[in-house]
């Protein structure tokens, strides 16, 4: 069966406005972050004193929809986590379970992801339904620029610029630049 071409209007934005729109968007996000930060501050202050309050706040904020919700989440986490800059994107339903987590610049976290204790370096792309859950009291490291596919479960460290396919379970460390897919996890290729 032949399919008509998809009408992906939002992606085919006219070029001359593209850079301007991006800058405007960035400015709006920054402004929202500054405006919303005072509102999350009391909750962050309480969360720093009690783990149960932190859990309750992060669970509630994960259910706030839209860009407002995203800005609320980022401002809350930037006040509570060990490190979380303002340009992180945390999607709907995603939750950072452990406040000792460190997140780098321009990280994207997809919907319904659950992050345990980990260090996520810059420009990492985490899809939806990902679970990062280090066994015991360890801290896993997700390398800079790595991509983690939909529904992956990560128990071990991942090197920089590695790609983990959808639905994979990472039970052994993955080196830098490797593409790994399937279950059990198999290496498919290396990028220098």
């Amino acid at each position: 069966m032949a399919h008509p071409p998809m009408s992906t209007t939002p992606l085919s934005a006219p070029d001359p406005y593209r850079g301007l729109a991006r800058r405007a968007k960035k400015l709006t996000l920054r402004l929202l972050f500054v405006l919303l930060s005072p509102w999350t501050l009391p909750f962050a202050w309480l969360s720093r004193r009690s783990d149960s309050v932190y859990t309750a706040c992060s669970e509630f904020l994960s259910l706030v929809p839209g860009r407002i919700g995203q800005c609320f989440r980022v401002s809350f986490y930037s006040q509570t986590l060990a490190a979380c800059p303002w340009d992180v994107f945390i999607s709907f339903g995603a939750r950072i379970v452990d406040p000792r987590t460190r997140i780098g610049h321009r990280v994207n976290i997809g919907a319904f992801s659950l992050l345990g204790r980990c260090t996520i370096e810059d420009r990492t792309l985490i899809a939806s339904w990902v679970i990062i859950e280090p066994p015991a009291e360890r801290c896993v490291n997700i390398g800079a620029g790595s991509w983690i596919g939909e529904g992956a479960i990560v128990l071990e460290s991942i090197g920089s610029r590695a790609v983990i396919g959808a639905g994979c379970i990472v039970t052994a460390p993955v080196d830098a630049g490797i593409t790994a897919t399937g279950n059990p996890l198999r290496q498919r290729g290396v990028v220098s």
């Binding site: 620029g145 939909e150 529904g151």
Partner: protein
């Protein structure tokens, strides 16, 4: 209860339910218009996305009706009799949904073309193709990568069981087992399982067996 087992027709008659849609349509119409304006003039799906997620956590029968009404007003094509359970949302406006489609709880669906009578269980993800972010240089920030959304077709009367991840076309009357990952296009009427998904029964036709 999975989406395919849901008994929807135990209450009022069909025509009564058709008319019962109007208040819900009226409720979502401003949001739908707002989303379409953003998409049309600002080339952004932000408004669509926010409302989709808001409606995904509306519980009970009103939630089902609101989601059906909202998506039939915003998606490229969507039948108003779609059943979308709690927690599920569409992430792009380019999706198409046929008649009698049932979608379970906590599904995330991208630019899919879901044909008539397909049933999708709980926690299934239908991605926007296999190359959503793969175009650019490795390790580049996600915002600077060329994004490519492909249409993923879910064939008529196909069944996708709980927790499956679908990133390639699924043929008509296919059965995708729970927890599998579909990475290659499937022909009509096969039964697949595993990650990556492999065919376990080549000529599986549920209607003939029943």
């Amino acid at each position: 209860m999975s989406a395919s087992q849901q008994v929807f027709g135990s209450g009022p008659s069909e025509s009564l339910r058709m008319h019962a849609r109007w208040p819900y349509r009226a409720l979502v119409l401003p949001w739908a218009l707002w989303a379409r304006c953003w998409a049309r003039w600002l080339h952004s799906e932000a408004a669509f996305d926010g409302t989709a997620k808001l409606l995904s956590i509306v519980p009970g029968r009103p939630g089902l009706s609101l989601r059906a009404a909202y998506y039939s007003e915003t998606l490229a094509a969507c039948s108003p009799d779609v059943v979308i359970a709690f927690g599920s949302f569409f992430s792009h406006m380019g999706a198409r949904v046929g008649r009698r489609v049932r979608i379970g709880s906590y599904c995330i669906i991208g630019t899919a073309d879901i044909e008539e009578g397909a049933s999708i269980d709980n926690r299934v993800s239908v991605l926007s193709g296999r190359h959503q972010h793969g175009g650019g240089e490795r390790g580049a920030p996600s915002k600077e990568q060329p994004v490519r959304y492909e249409c993923v077709r879910i064939g008529a009367e196909a069944t996708i069981r709980a927790g499956a991840i679908v990133m390639a076309d699924v043929g008509a009357q296919c059965v995708v087992e729970a927890g599998s990952t579909v990475t290659r296009c499937l022909v009509d009427g096969v039964h697949v399982a595993g990650n990556p998904a492999r065919v376990i029964v080549p000529d599986f036709a549920p209607t003939e067996r029943a």
